[in-house]
């Protein structure tokens, strides 16, 4: 039996944040943060290794490395954590994006101390969310992440930052208010036994999964949970916070927001809404697929019209996150595996994209496509990164985006109904639109003549920026070339969810 203290994932960022609090001056602050983030990355590698070892040793428990501690005993609320393959993959993603985010914020001024502390708190919240097995703990960590985002955008952002920050905070809080009602519903139905008895209520994810929650209750509370979490992951028509929020945020915050925070929603839709209420998930599947398809197509079309690089990536995020929801809505093994892969892939890819845009913006002080041009001649490294991110986004084979999207499509095609086919074809077609806007943006910004003579003095990426993007690209290529390891990691977790759904349907 391997042992792993999962709480370290929350404790390490918090201790780092405390240490940063007592540091003076940017050099020391960023050094301490980098050490902390590297420690997180190391921990997540150890976690992956231990997880493999444990599974190889034949441990088939749905959750590994569980830890439980009574928190509010009278409500039967526990601090309960544990991981399966899906959580491990999400934790790995969080660690990579955090490390990269801290590296690209190397020259963050002013108030650098507060900036790094907020980033670290954000990462702690994300880790906690991904490994929570108690719905109260999960909700706690979900909300922990809202306010740091508000402050990050409002203080260090650009453009209409206050408006964007407020919009993001209010919309995400509305999302969590919906989640909250759904959770209360689950809690009070968890105590209603089959013979009308009122048993002990519980928030425990694994215990609730064993309970026969009546279909009527599922039909009532599923939309609350799904839409609530959906707001986090840009479910149409609640996606409006995404473009403003992402565009106004500072680079590292955009990376975190699109890379991890949006995945909280997708993970919640899968782990809480779909896993615990499979009957309702099947009933509502057509609506989910409809909204997801609209998001995919609408997001792609809206991106065509954008002129700001950050808006381009933000709208394309809406489109790409639509694939996650599409995969979940399809409810087949392959499609759900694809959805989780898309979460990871999009997390890495969008972080890379925002990192590249941030580097360009730091140097040229503009993100407008028409004012940029010929960057390849001045900063070849950054331009290459930009192109790689773009190619991954449009699903070029060899990168993670292709693997994830093709898995979703294959899973979707397993359904033979006309509606499913239609949605799949539309979603496939959106990739062509993606190619158009990505190639156009890349062509205009990095090819062609140099628009502004002042650009000739600009320098290429520094060592920290190179480190950040190489880390992200390595992960993207690792998934793109050898997807089987990710598939193997995710399979037991996806199977738990699908077996549970299968049992409910028969």
């Amino acid at each position: 039996m391997e042992v792993m203290n999962l709480s370290l994932f929350v404790i390490v960022p918090l201790i780092t944040a405390m240490a940063v609090l007592f540091c003076k001056g940017l050099p020391r602050v960023r050094m301490v943060s980098l050490v902390g983030a590297s420690l997180q990355l190391l921990l997540s590698f150890i976690l992956v290794a231990l997880y493999w070892k444990e599974r190889a040793a034949g441990n088939t428990a749905p959750m590994l490395f569980e830890y439980q501690h009574a928190w509010f005993a009278s409500w039967n609320i526990h601090y309960h954590i544990g991981v399966d393959g899906i959580s491990v993959a999400m934790i790995l993603l969080t660690a990579i994006v955090t490390e990269a985010g801290i590296l690209v914020s190397w020259t963050m001024k002013p108030m650098s101390r507060e900036f790094f502390i907020l980033l670290l708190i954000l990462s702690a919240g994300a880790y906690g969310f991904f490994m929570s097995l108690d719905l109260f703990t999960l909700f706690f960590f979900l909300e922990v992440s809202v306010i740091p985002k508000f402050l990050l955008i409002g203080i260090w952002g650009s453009g209409r930052k206050e408006y964007s920050a407020m919009k993001l905070a209010l919309m995400l809080m509305s999302g969590s208010a919906l989640v909250f009602i759904g959770l209360l519903g689950l809690y009070y139905y968890s105590g209603a036994g089959p013979s009308g008895s009122v048993g002990p209520y519980t928030f425990d994810l694994l215990q609730i999964a064993q309970l026969p929650i009546p279909k009527g209750a599922q039909m009532v509370f599923f939309p609350f949970l799904f839409v609530g979490f959906g707001i986090f992951t840009a479910l149409f028509p609640f996606h409006t916070w995404v473009p403003d929020g992402h565009a106004s945020a500072p680079t590292a915050a955009s990376m975190f927001l699109a890379g991890i925070s949006m995945k909280l929603g997708g993970y919640g839709c899968l782990r809480v809404a779909t896993f615990l209420m499979p009957l309702a998930a099947r009933e509502y599947a057509p609506f989910i697929i409809l909204l997801a398809t609209i998001a995919i197509v609408y997001g792609a079309l809206a991106t065509m019209m954008q002129k700001d690089l950050k808006y381009i990536n933000a709208y394309s995020s809406i489109s790409h996150c639509g694939f996650i929801l599409l995969g979940i809505g399809m409810l087949t093994r392959t499609a759900i595996t694809g959805a989780v892969m898309q979460m990871i892939s999009h997390g890495l890819m969008t972080a890379l994209f925002f990192a590249a845009i941030g580097m360009i913006y730091d140097r040229t002080h503009t993100r407008m496509v028409e004012r940029l041009g010929g960057l390849l001649k001045i900063m070849p490294f950054i331009s290459t990164v930009f192109v790689i991110a773009g190619l991954c986004s449009l699903g070029l084979p060899g990168f993670s985006g292709f693997v994830a999207e093709i898995t979703v499509f294959m899973g979707s095609w397993e359904h033979s109904g006309e509606m499913y086919r239609f949605a799949t074809i539309l979603a496939c077609a959106s990739i062509v639109i993606t190619a158009v806007y990505i190639l156009r943006a890349a062509g205009q910004t990095i090819m062609g003549p140099i628009r502004d003579p002042q650009y000739n003095q600009l320098t290429d990426a520094t060592w920290n920026e190179k480190g950040a993007v190489i880390l992200l690209i390595a992960a993207i290529v690792a998934i793109g070339i050898a997807p089987f390891w990710l598939d193997g990691l995710l399979r037991p977790g996806v199977e738990t969810i699908m077996d549970h759904a299968g049992k409910a349907y028969h």
Partner: protein, 470 residues
Amino acid sequence: MWAGIFLGLKQELMVTLIIFILLFVRLGATEYRTEFILNLVNLLLLVNFIAGFFFNTESALFNGMFHSNKLIVLEKNMLNLGTLILSLQAYNWLKDHKLVLEFYLLLLSTLAGLFFMISAGNLLMFYLGLELSTIPLAALASFDLEKKKSSEAAMKFILSSAFSSALLLFGISLVYGATGSLGFEGIVQRLDGSSLQLFAFILLLSGFAFKISVVPFHLWTADVYEGSPVTVTAYLSVISKGAVFFVFVQVLYTVFKPLALEWYRILVLLAVVTMFTGNLFALRQDNLKRLLAFSSIAQVGFILVGITGSSQSGTASVIYFILIYIFSNLGAFGVVALISALTGKENINDYKGLYKTNPLLSWVMAISLFSLAGIPPTAGFFGKFFLLMAGAGKGNYLFIGMAALNMVISLYYYLRVIKAIFMDANDHPIGGLKIPLLPAIGLLVCATGVIMTGMMGWIYDYIYSLSVGL
């Protein structure tokens, strides 16, 4: 016999003792040092707070007029702690005030009144305690002696209090007429839901509603809060309101238990109206005291949501929330009080750019506001969560949904203050303030309470275990 009386009344006696000491100081010396008085009172309140943890017994004294148990002692201790924090935070304002002694005499009389009110086992005793707390409060409201607004606030407060007292008294007399008893135990045996009893109950409820400023009985709140000195405003919105809630919960769950279905419906309606009104009015306020006044009206709505739950979890979540509310609201008021005492500024626009000059004060303000808004990891999250969870026990999810919607609305105006402090630029921000030791301790206690109360789940479990008896 005597030991029982002394132990049962220990907190009341201690507060009375402080009052007498202050009176003797007043009589004995024509000149006294203000700092000495301040330190003395703070020390004695601290002693009372610590003593509140020991020798707690259950007792029923004076033919059931006065009763006490561990939960009631805990409630009084919470109020005592709140008063201590307030007194620490008011240090700067009081240091230069001419009438420090009188201030404390009135404040402590109020506290003693609240203590008697919480322990009341009889409607008459309850009324006596309430009046003992209300009348000095009106005098306190006008304690900014030079300000016209302060006297106006006192006038409004005394008039509305008199009105609500009249309602209460009428209700009490009708209860007596309908049940033949004023003792809590006697009343509960004879309640059968006849229309006379219902009418009496509604009158009583209106009286309570005035004291805790439930909509539509809230109209006095904003003006009184704005006009009074910050310390008194904080006292009104936290301590006296909290005390009335303690009694309210007891009365509803024990005395008016037979009418539970009736008051459940009324409370649901009042809670929804109160939350919406408080929040929507708070959206447009520019004066921080007014903003906090309306936010405290909204908070009352949330507490009512908790009360609609079942008795044990309802009681526990309300008391737990009030503990958290004491910390978070006093944290916010503490910052406002300090800045108001040192610079005289109370507007949101004056707070722009505060973070650049006063990072510590800004953070205390921020976490207090987050706690009021119910955002983790601050304690307010747990408080609100449990209030709504208790309320959801009845299965009325539409109602809980409205409460959740209100949490989102309230977030907007709290974030407005945060935005002003952290994000807005200002050419003339409030200069760097030196925080004196005692207010700093007061703020530190609040901040610690806001951060730790939620993390330590056993606090809630302890309150829950004490609430069984209700």
